[in-house]
């Protein structure tokens, strides 16, 4: 079965080629069905492979000889295949959600949109399962290129093209930094496979400036994708303007794949004796993560453009993922995995519900929509449930993940609770304003992005669009299941133990050793974790209630921070360059 692993990339690619080749003669309904079918088949394949455990496939049949190969290896370990499965399921959901979504497909190219989404899927699945550094760069770029095109899809408007450009410049630059890092590693080790590079570094540990520079440069690209501060500026611009179904993919999995890339490279390449010392990596992830979480939460609270608000909440939760990785233990990584699964469901459901609002009212502006959602209670309920999932209300997967990820330090729960409460509270505030018509919508005089968007869909039908609501509901149910099924948490625990095992990964890939994952403590709810989840949900409710009553101080304190988010490509590039410097400083910080 292992040799079928490359098909998780090949099937969506073939589907995309079919849609483009026959697109001129294909009615829209056929094109959209083909898209759904290919995405669903890939999801099925990924799940079957996942059920069998770890799959290692040497593409082209170039199996290693004495630990060396000239080929590319794809490694579908539980985390990689799990992400491929998550991606494929979400892509299927998105294609169902966007059934006849756009008012008119590009003339003569009925299949263009599903084809782009399938190419996006291929890029993300390829990135998740590759075990080769250069191959990871190739699929990183495939994800990027499709992402830019999908973000700028609505070319009739001014904002999407600007957001897509910012996305394109910053991401491409990050990718090239990563490639420079890969070049440095190739010079030192003469290898490109992650397992091989890791082994070569360990064989003659030198821990010199070259290794540090390679680490910093490779991580730069992945952290740009993950939207970590100060590389995050592109994300709100792109998410605010991309078509809503695309936002579900960008926020739900693509950003998380950036975090995955950073963690994967850290554990497989740099975690050994020849890599970067664990305490330096810990400092890097911790500082960056906390900064990202706080900046994201502060900006999230200030937004009135609902998609931009959700985008900043993604930034802030990504920060928490990084904080969880900082500990580097199997338990905290399994927490991050569960958190990512739960977050994907919750965030995608929130974007999906926002899409319904946009479809019905032609706006995603909290102030303009004030009270206009009263007639769509169902969507309001979805919004509120999604908000509590973000805030970390047990038993959502987000809450279980946070509980496992935060327990390794005494002060970390404070950050987790605060950030969850603020991001969940912001969404609850929107829910109260839009769906209950509570209070009065505040107006600010600061530089900001208003939410008066053109509708993306056809003329709004009188009835609520059923498939859109059903998809949102299913996604939330998925987020709930992640925290409520003990078997899943057990599997994720085993996945995380294998993922954090530096030498074990190389043994699986290069020596074909397929032992069962080392046993470990089963990760499940603790009273403290559940209590902290309840606390942050209660705080979120309180914050939203205070905001609706206008009992909170105005957001003047945040003006300098908001001015930094200037929409200027040059500024974003400047921050990216500064970020490379920041990463180096954090890694090389002299320990007192």
């Amino acid at each position: 079965m292992d040799r079928f692993l490359p098909l998780v990339v090949a099937v969506p690619l073939l589907g995309a080629a079919l849609l483009v080749g026959a697109g001129r003669r294909m009615p829209r309904i056929v094109a959209e069905s083909v898209g759904c079918l290919c995405a669903a088949c890939t999801a099925g394949l990924a799940l079957v492979l996942l059920a069998r455990g770890t799959a290692v496939s040497w593409v082209g049949g170039w199996e290693p000889y004495h630990g060396h190969s000239v080929g590319i290896v794809l490694v579908g370990d539980r985390v990689g295949l799990g992400l491929a499965a998550l991606t494929s399921l979400l892509v299927t959901a998105v294609l169902v959600y966007s059934w006849h979504y756009f008012d008119e497909p590009p003339r003569g190219h009925a299949g263009a949109y599903p084809a782009l989404v399938l190419l996006f899927q291929a890029g993300m699945c390829g990135f998740a399962v590759t075990g080769d550094l250069f191959d990871a760069f190739v699929f990183f770029e495939l994800m990027g290129v499709v992402g830019y095109a999908l973000t700028g899809y609505r070319v009739e408007e001014a904002r999407p093209v600007q957001g897509a450009l910012a996305f394109g410049f910053v991401n491409s630059l990050g990718g090239y930094a990563s490639l420079l890092g890969v070049g440095l590693l190739y010079a030192r080790t003469g290898e490109l496979g992650m397992a091989q590079v890791g082994r070569q570094l360990d064989a003659a540990p030198r821990r010199d400036a070259l290794v540090v520079a390679a680490f910093v440069l490779v991580l730069t690209g992945f952290l740009v994708k993950a939207a970590a501060v100060p590389f995050h500026f592109w994300l709100p611009d792109a998410h605010a303007v991309a078509p809503t179904p695309v936002c579900m993919l960008l926020s739900g999995v693509m950003v998380e794949l950036g975090v995955y890339g950073a963690a994967r490279v850290h554990f497989t390449v740099f975690a050994g004796p020849g890599g970067v010392p664990a305490e330096d990596v810990r400092r890097l992830f911790l500082v960056l993560g906390v900064a990202t979480a706080l900046v994201g939460a502060a900006m999230c609270w200030q937004q009135r453009h609902v998609k931009r608000l959700l985008a900043f909440s993604t930034v802030s939760h990504t920060g928490l993922f990084l904080v969880g990785l900082a500990a580097g233990t199997a338990e905290s990584v399994s927490g991050v995995c569960l958190y990512v699964l739960g977050h994907a469901g919750a965030k995608a459901a929130l974007f999906a519900s926002t899409g319904v609002l946009l479809d019905r009212h032609g706006s995603v502006d909290e102030c303009e929509l004030h009270g206009r959602g009263r007639d769509m209670r169902g969507v309001g309920v979805l919004f509120a449930v999604g908000a509590f999932a973000l805030a970390g209300l047990p038993p959502f997967g987000t809450a279980l993940g946070k509980a496992l990820a935060e327990e390794h330090s005494p002060w970390l729960p404070v950050v987790f609770v605060l950030v969850s409460a603020v991001t969940g509270g912001a969404v609850l505030r929107v829910t109260a304003h839009v769906f209950l018509g509570a209070g009065q919508a505040p107006r600010t005089t600061q530089p900001e992005t208003r939410g008066d968007e053109e509708p993306e869909t056809e003329e709004p039908a009188w009835r609520l669009p059923r498939p859109m609501i059903a998809v949102a509901g299913l996604l939330l149910a998925g987020a709930l299941a992640v925290g409520a099924v003990p078997a899943l948490a057990e599997e994720v625990g085993a996945a995380a133990r294998a993922f954090t095992d530096h030498a074990g990964y190389a043994a699986v890939v290069l020596d074909g050793r397929r032992g069962a994952a080392p046993p470990g403590p089963a990760a499940w709810w603790t009273p403290t974790g559940a209590g902290l989840g309840l606390l942050s949900a209660a705080l979120a409710t309180g914050l939203a209630a205070l905001a609706v009553r206008r009992a909170l101080p105005t957001g003047r304190w945040s003006a300098p921070l908001r001015r930094l988010h200037s929409g200027h490509v040059g500024d974003y590039v400047v921050w990216t360059a500064a970020g490379i410097g920041l990463l180096s400083a954090l890694v090389l910080w002299p320990v007192g």
Binding site: F134, V138, E141, G144, V145, Y148, A149, G152, V155, E156, E157, A158, R159, V161, Q162, G163, A164, L165, A166, G168, F169, S172, L173, Y176, A177, L179, L180, G183, L184, Y186, A187, L192, P236, D237, A240, V241, Q302, Q303, Q446, P447, E448, T449, R562, R563, H565, S566, G567, H568, V569, G570, V573, V574, T576, A577
Partner: protein, 114 residues
Amino acid sequence: MSVFPYAVAGWIFLVGVYGLATSRNLVHAVGCLSVAQSATYVLLLAVGYRRGGTAPVFSDTPTTASVVDPVVQALALTDVVVGATVTALLLALVVQTAKRHGTTDPDELHELKG
């Protein structure tokens, strides 16, 4: 002088980033991004160089000849294609930016703030 070719790669990257950060025209900025990318070609090819090595093509040299590393050349080829396609896509976005915003100066794009 054995560091010189690597230093050239680093210099090209920095120059590209500088141009990108200070650009007043998006077409120029796309060009700067390509410059920054060129650093990766130079670095890869420099890493793969072998003194006295010839091109790794054996159609008119004996297979025993000393050749430079073919792997980095293949990587550079992939990289070139990636760069060209990203450039094309970004230029398409610039064309639409010029139409929708009436300018290609990043200083005058004011739609996304805060």
